[in-house]
């Protein structure tokens, strides 16, 4: 396990992957619990009983020692027992095994273990890495085939190579077999951000998260469009470059006021066209990045404009309703000048005014 064929060494790679998996599982559903046990050394030892506290799990991975051989059967049996005594009986049971050392049990024994797991509806994932024993891959395949019920159990063979063990596993069904949640966490982890998509907590700021998601999709659409344009450009169509030029104009103009004169555009048009033609010849990816910036700038504009419009509309509505109620009350008073019911009229008018304001407020801000 000190071997350096997995970077930095097998044991460290395994620790990192375990941490990643525990994080992914606890993120997936707040009622998930994860426990860790070791099966080499003096004997099988449960490091932490199933808990949803990620800190405890990460802490227990420190101070582990390498030594002796792994005992696969005993490890799985103790895991089964630990799962049996879980607090919430409604949770589904799953065992994830990191098999770094050689497997000294024979195929029959492993198949028996597999059938027993299947009978108690426990799913099993196996990560085969490290020591490449003869028959080890077959034995593990047979084990998972015996447990597998409806594609819930997987075995992943990771040969030694330059990429990290965790990276290989992120794209495997062990991470993604759970559906959307696992893959989004994996993508975020690969990007080095905190567990949330785009680094923004949807709980704290749902609008920002939504805006980021929308702009991401727009950027993707833009990139595809830009890729198409670049392809067209290479085949020699002139109109594509003009479109790109105009979009470049908008990009430079966002900091200035919206109403630009036509002459300005025409002047810069020719200049930018030249520059663009040169850069287009170099690489099509540069266009893509510029388009990305542009798309984000326009979405900001849209939001600002929308906000402004809304404010203005609200003020307009408020003023009109004030005016209307004033006129109405005046007319009432003039008509019934002889009737001594001034206070009542004023009172009714003020109520009307309030109701109108509230009503229009609801109209503006649904």
């Amino acid at each position: 396990m000190r071997n350096g064929d997995y970077s930095p060494n097998r044991f460290q790679a395994q620790t990192d992957t375990v941490n990643l998996i525990c994080g992914a599982k606890t993120q997936l559903n707040p009622e998930n619990t994860v426990g860790v046990l070791t099966m080499a050394g003096k004997g099988v030892r449960v490091l932490v009983t199933p808990t949803s506290d990620l800190g405890k799990i990460l802490a227990c991975m420190h101070g582990l020692e390498i030594g002796s051989e792994m005992n696969l059967a005993a490890g799985i049996q103790v895991a089964q027992l630990a799962l049996k005594h879980r607090q919430n009986k409604k949770q589904q049971q799953r065992i994830i095994v990191f098999a770094g050392g050689p497997v000294k049990y024979d195929k029959k024994m492993l198949e028996m273990i597999g059938r027993k797991l299947k009978k108690n509806s426990i799913a099993l994932d196996v990560v085969n890495f490290g020591e490449e024993d003869e028959g080890k891959a077959e034995k593990l395949e047979a084990l998972v085939a015996a447990v597998n019920n409806n594609d819930s159990s997987h075995v992943v063979h990771v040969p030694p190579g330059p990429s990290a063990l965790s990276d290989v596993l992120i794209s495997s069904p062990i991470f993604t077999g759970d559906g959307e949640g696992g893959s989004s966490f994996a993508a975020a982890a690969a990007g080095g951000v905190s567990g949330f998509e785009f680094g923004v907590d949807p709980n704290l700021d749902p609008e920002l998260a939504l805006a980021l998601r929308v702009s991401m999709e727009e950027e993707r659409a833009r990139q595809e469009a830009a890729a198409e344009e670049a392809a067209k450009q290479e085949s020699g169509e002139h109109s594509a470059s003009q479109d790109a030029t105009i979009s470049e104009n908008v990009n430079t103009g966002t900091t200035e006021p919206e109403n630009k004169s036509k002459d300005q555009m025409d002047d810069e048009n020719a200049f930018l066209q030249q520059a663009l033609a040169m850069s287009m010849g170099d690489s099509s990816s540069a266009v893509a990045t510029r388009d990305t910036e542009m798309s984000e700038a326009t979405t900001d504009d849209h939001d600002l404009q929308l906000g402004e419009n809304l404010c203005w509309l609200a003020k307009f509505h408020f003023l009109t309703c004030v005016l209307f109620s004033f006129v109405f009350s005046l007319s009432l008073l003039t008509i019934r000048s002889d009737v001594v019911h001034y206070p009542l009229c004023l009172y009714l008018c003020s109520i009307l005014l309030m109701l109108l304001v509230i009503f229009l407020q609801y109209c503006c801000f649904p």
């Binding site: 919430n88 059938r115 299947k118 009978k119 108690n120 019920n149 949807p202 749902p206 609008e207 801000f365």
Partner: protein, 204 residues
């Protein structure tokens, strides 16, 4: 204890007696060692439909005829008798053991624990046999677990119908202890307006 029920009696309508299937919480019914996940739910039907297993039946895995069926009810019931229709060619269960009001029993528990009652079954393909219970022990049943350890020599164990006869009280057991509260809010459970459309967000 098995008693033969002559079905051509006109004094009472048998189907109303076997109506406890209406009080079963079908979404929470589960089975261990079933070949097709979820097939256990098709086993609970009306008395008239007991031989009609067109929607599927419960079958154990190849070569292993043990089965455990966990049946929770929506309210406490009193079970008078149980009827089981098995499969042909020795796939019918031979023994039945019942456990009451216990959660999460698996095979090792079932083999070690003393059941509330145990029956020796016979092949009952027409569904005319019923097995009486010791009624005093089955007075307030919130859930029942049936364990079928053996069959009549077939490769698998098949169950086409399980009927329960008895009365339903309107009482519910004290279920507070079995509720797991939310440890942390799960964003996907609380969709706010902001996620469905634009505009200001309001948590409703």
């Amino acid at each position: 204890m098995a008693c033969l029920h002559d079905h051509s009696c006109e004094e009472h309508d048998c189907s109303s007696d076997w109506s406890l299937y209406k009080h079963i919480d079908l979404s929470k019914v589960s089975a261990l060692n079933e070949a097709v996940s979820g097939s256990v739910k098709s086993v609970f039907r009306a008395w008239e439909q007991r031989l009609n297993s067109s929607e599927g039946h419960l079958e154990s895995n190849e070569g292993d005829p043990e089965l455990i069926v966990f049946i929770p009810f929506t309210s406490d019931v009193k079970i008078k008798s149980i009827s089981v229709v098995g499969g042909a060619d020795g796939t019918s269960p031979a023994k039945m053991r019942a456990f009451i009001n216990r959660d999460g029993i698996d095979f090792s528990d079932a083999q070690n624990m003393q059941p509330v009652q145990e029956w020796d079954l016979v092949e009952n393909l027409q569904g005319v046999l019923e097995y009486q219970t010791r009624y005093s022990r089955f007075q307030s049943v919130g859930n029942i677990t049936l364990h079928f350890p053996e069959n009549f020599g077939g490769e698998t164990c098949q169950i086409h119908y399980i009927g329960l006869k008895g009365e339903a009280t309107q009482l519910k057991r004290d279920v507070v202890a079995t509720i797991v509260y939310e440890v942390m809010p799960n964003p996907s459970d609380h969709k706010t307006r902001a996620e469905t459309g634009g505009g200001l967000s309001q948590v409703e």
